[in-house]
């Protein structure tokens, strides 16, 4: 069984962020492995252990994202690959998805692709479903538990968490899933794994290696700038009537 995990580093959401006059994001601390991806990596390793398979961990990004790959290797992934090309600068979910899908195809023999639920700095999971669409595979998002997986029979059954509750869904392999928090207890790197990861040399696949041209990953959207949240106003507003408070809160759209 071959599982691929897609990962990235992200800014630490606990760190202070600031926006400069040019609308660019500045943050103090370095990037961290996307906390959502910890669950994805661990789920892949659990599957590897249960089915004696292999796990590939893939990122799309600059060298700063290799930290996430090394982390995956240290936990037990078998190989790591970084996708990068100048043509991939700037975030677009469809560009990302097209490149990742091409990498999965190039790897060959992948049964399951696992993503963490979202990227905090992008605050979206569109790239996950678009990757599935580009691959022509069944996506199962927001998975709280893989209840059963049969690589031979090509089936997978999961429990998904949606707003209205949970669904148990059966589908076919190969599949793309995104996993939510608490699907598992994230594993730590092993010391043997750390040694392996420190020594690993990670190949970089460019668009040409993926059989794509720039047009195939042309972005469809663009970030114009970052903005601060509107400032919190000064003094407290004392209200006498509960009905008036309710109206204000509804107006503020916090309910």
């Amino acid at each position: 069984m071959h599982v691929a995990v897609i990962t990235n580093c992200t800014p630490d959401t606990a760190a202070a962020v600031a926006i400069d006059s040019g609308g660019n994001l500045k943050f103090d601390d370095k990037l961290v492995v996307n906390p959502w991806d910890e669950y994805a990596i661990t789920e892949a390793i659990l599957l590897k252990e249960a089915h004696s398979g292999q796990v590939s961990i893939i990122t799309l990004g600059g060298p700063e994202h290799e930290e996430a790959l090394k982390h995956g290797l240290a936990i037990g992934c078998d190989q790591a690959i970084r996708i990068w090309d100048d043509a991939l600068q700037g975030w677009d979910s469809l560009a990302y998805a097209s490149a990742v899908a091409a990498a999965i195809t190039k790897l060959g023999g992948v049964d399951l692709v696992i993503f963490g639920k979202e990227l905090p700095d992008i605050a979206s999971e569109a790239h996950i479903f678009q990757t599935a669409r580009r691959l022509g595979w069944s996506p199962l998002g927001f998975v709280a538990k893989i209840e059963a997986i049969d690589p031979a029979a090509r089936t997978i059954r999961v429990r998904r968490q949606v707003e209205s509750g949970t669904e148990t869904v059966t589908s076919r392999l190969p599949a793309v899933i995104s996993v939510i928090k608490d699907i598992n207890e994230p594993k730590y790197p092993t010391f043997i794994g750390i040694r392996k990861a420190a020594k690993a040399s990670i190949p970089v696949w460019k668009l040409a290696d993926l059989g794509l041209d720039a047009a195939a990953v042309a972005p469809k959207t663009r970030r114009l700038a970052y903005q601060d949240l509107p400032k919190r106003e000064g003094a407290v507003e004392i209200i006498d009537d509960p009905a008036a408070l309710v109206d204000k809160l509804l107006e503020d759209k916090v309910i």
Partner: protein, 322 residues
Amino acid sequence: MSVFVWIELHKGQPIPASFEALGLARQLGDRVTGLVFGQGVDDAVKAAFAYGADTVIKADDASLARYRFEPYVALLAGLVKEHSPAIVLAAATTSGRELLAGAAADVGGGLLADVTELSLDGGKLKAVRPVLGGKVLSVEAVTADGPQFATLRNRAFPQPEPDAGRTGDVITVSPALAEDAIAAKVDSVESAAGQISLSDANIIVAAGRGVGGPEGFAPVKALAEVLGGAVGASRAAVDAGWIPYEHQVGQTGKVVSPDLYIAAGISGAIQHQAGMRTAKVIVAINKDPEAPIFKLARYGMVGDLFDILPRLTEEFRKKLNK
């Protein structure tokens, strides 16, 4: 300019967020088409008109009875390719976000996800979206030609006033995929029940020393329930044994960042503040007008929480139709 709006259904009824999408659609374009997919959708079709659709495209089939990615994406993408709307909108629910991502991929269009502001700039969608745990706003725009996709954050846009007398053309279409061409089968469904985790909650109602004892949490829980929120507590209440430690907010408890934090009978010591000060809106309810919590709050009510909380609960019940 033609705008498609996917009307998401829950138990045959459109979800309120879909109405918000219709309201926005009317502002952005001049022809609004509601898309209603499901089984037994006539009521939903009527509601779509009432809340602003000019036309409704409906697909009524067993294979669409419950949202699934493949049949819905195939259907939506097909319709978008056929009709070439300028814009496609949906509420940013788990289904809406999946569906529009998939359809945008099929169509090769740009997608702005989970936006809190949306406008047109030179024919292209421009949006504001919170990122990095809501600490920062990202301003983004679609650059590609062709249909543009956006999912809208719940409650970020106003709900239009319904007009029950409105009606329009209904176009009936068949599903794009036959059932046996669909890989995913839903085996079972369980409705959401049980407590919302404090760390994930968008709304928290918290209480402290002021409740006087474990029974004092009853009005707190009642308000939390009506609001669909979680219950929090200050260290004083937890140390006194009135509520379990897992509800503690603060330096030695959980750090939370909800949209709304209602602090009842909590003085607002710095240890508690450390756990909740990044909440978007803080409401303080306390007998003591000098309590430090009022310095942190956006809104405050000075009085007895046992009087105020039930009245708030009642008002919310009315306004939220619960």
